[in-house]
Symmetry: none
Subunit: 213 residues, 4 copies
Amino acid sequence: MNKKREVQSSVKDESLIEKRRAQMIRGAVTLFKQKGFHRTTTREIAKAAGFSIGTLYEYIRTKEDVLYLVCDSIYDEVHARLDSLDIEKGSLDVLVTALEHYYSLIDDMQDEFVVMYQESKSLPKDALQYVLNKELEMVALFERLLAECVDSGELKMTQKEIKLASHHLFVQGQMWAFRRWALRDFTIQEFIKTQTQFLLQGMAGEKISIQGA
Amino acid sequence: MNKKREVQSSVKDESLIEKRRAQMIRGAVTLFKQKGFHRTTTREIAKAAGFSIGTLYEYIRTKEDVLYLVCDSIYDEVHARLDSLDIEKGSLDVLVTALEHYYSLIDDMQDEFVVMYQESKSLPKDALQYVLNKELEMVALFERLLAECVDSGELKMTQKEIKLASHHLFVQGQMWAFRRWALRDFTIQEFIKTQTQFLLQGMAGEKISIQGA
Amino acid sequence: MNKKREVQSSVKDESLIEKRRAQMIRGAVTLFKQKGFHRTTTREIAKAAGFSIGTLYEYIRTKEDVLYLVCDSIYDEVHARLDSLDIEKGSLDVLVTALEHYYSLIDDMQDEFVVMYQESKSLPKDALQYVLNKELEMVALFERLLAECVDSGELKMTQKEIKLASHHLFVQGQMWAFRRWALRDFTIQEFIKTQTQFLLQGMAGEKISIQGA
Amino acid sequence: MNKKREVQSSVKDESLIEKRRAQMIRGAVTLFKQKGFHRTTTREIAKAAGFSIGTLYEYIRTKEDVLYLVCDSIYDEVHARLDSLDIEKGSLDVLVTALEHYYSLIDDMQDEFVVMYQESKSLPKDALQYVLNKELEMVALFERLLAECVDSGELKMTQKEIKLASHHLFVQGQMWAFRRWALRDFTIQEFIKTQTQFLLQGMAGEKISIQGA
DNA sequence: CATGAATGAGAATTCATTCAT
DNA sequence: GATGAATGAATTCTCATTCAT
């Protein structure tokens, strides 16, 4: 399993930790979005969070911890919103619902996702691993749903095609977060609808033969 | 048009500038890939390029210039390899060829693309604009090809669908560069073939009706 | 009016700022006197002030700020010592007293004045303006005193002569600071006495006619 | 005597040396005036002189040599213009002529003098000594003329008063160069006339008794 | 003699982190 | 628990000087 990395704090009161870290994350996301992780100083984070630099360091040990907390909190939210799907048996309907939930989630947490994808490379090794694993968990969710659609005969795909397609679905989510500037004339509903249609069509039906391929 | 930003050099010999900058770019890409732009020092870049820090600064003015040169050189390569397609009238065959070229290009310059997409946000405003415009030029190529397929009746898509699809094609390229770690068991040929098939299928044929959409 | 330029500090405690800056100024004057502003490094200033380079920069923003603080502190002292004269009505007696105060002041703060006059050109534009204005304020003090002596009939001078003479008085002060090396055999009292006599005589009485002028 | 410091050159042709150094000095004065010695780079000097940095260093050994050459050339000019006075026996008339020459000289070479007085502190020890000695030579000229006026009974001054007065005369020259910004409404003729009158009056006649002195 | 590319010591400034209050 | 002053390692960039061509 993907064990949560503990971020050390010299404060004991758990609920206080939670509160302070929430403030911290909110401030940090805004700043990281604007200026990136490296150009943001710990002082700025503290200020945005509403407390002093000294206090900031009561709740974390390094600047990278802040980035980790941001990423971690995103996945907490992801789980909160997609867990209901985890138990359902896969079918095209469920898949469509999953995409709806996933893309809506990204739409709601656009800034957070952008920050996470842009800055996660600055995480310490173990934290990066944790985040990548979280990513794979999501991909795996799509993979399972697709596989079950194939099992039930709703889709016809090979193992490898399933794998690629699940990454494909995942990446479409990133696209909505990252290319918003180029997709200003789409609403999230339009985006979801068009993409879903497109993807389903790509996966379903007979293969078209391509010359030269 | 998208005018090339001049990077000032205090050296006059143009061919020397080209040579030194090539050394510089090669070294920088390796380092940026490993540690990112911010964690790479100018001294390291100079060393990797094979000259002193003083010499480095004879050929650029700021560290950001190095990043810009990296991005710029990528697009020089892109143009060198995709320009032949620029003149062809769009058709499904041409589109398929374009994707082949594009994905192969990304495969060949994987490191460069990853660096560019991860670090371009650190470019100064005008340089970032230049790079984003280059990106849009590529998207526009796909857009034109798709539109011409629609004109010729090979594809059935609305304007908006074309737009989204062209971004889609573009983003698939990034996916190959970025998610190589997760797609180790695919060759670039497999990737190209599967993706192409998938995309064509997604765009062609009757729309499947989706419940709830 | 000549508004004091604010020098930003990231430290909040005003009295601490004052204390640290005083340390800084003392150290800086010594160093600037010895080696000039440009040959003095910020590290040396910090060391001479008794704290680390990091701490230095908690109290200023740029090296030039240090120079400004030096100049500003000189004028604070000037005001503290000459303000009593500001209110008095001009007369020869008052003028003589003013010169006594002014020359004594320069004698006491010789190093500071030398540094200020030698290095002020390195100040940023606005700070330089501020310092020049302070200089003019002093010249204006002499101008007023002279003008009032003329009004009361104690002196006979034209407007222009007053102007030139006031600069003259001012420059004599600089002379004491700058040419001490050449005037080793004068005490400040002798200097004051001789100069005063000389100046008064130059200004009073009938004009001597000079051939050719 | 004040022996001319040799500035080493790797070029043999004396007339070429003279020509190149003249170019160099002209360029340097302009630059030093604008930005000061320290903010001017050797590259800029070379460019302003009309040759390359390599060539610059064929005619000097260090940047400070340039400053020295500037100062030295000023004194060459001073000698060329004041030598005629060196032989004359002192009298009030001669003194007045000397001041005329001296102040006119400073007016003509204002930039050079300002640069010299502002930057000479950056000269290496021996060069500085040389320049200070040159200064003293000029003061000594005034001293001699005054002393001879006293001898002939035209003036009544003690030894010490003569010394101070000669510095005084010298410093008035600097004043014209340095405070031009504040004396915009004076012509050099007016300045010379007023100052001369003022000084003569200050030195001649009965001493006025000052209370408290 | 002239050129200008190469060098690297050195300088200003920043900022994550600590710790005494 | 909270604060914010202090620290100094690290970083970017400059520029006097050299030397091969």
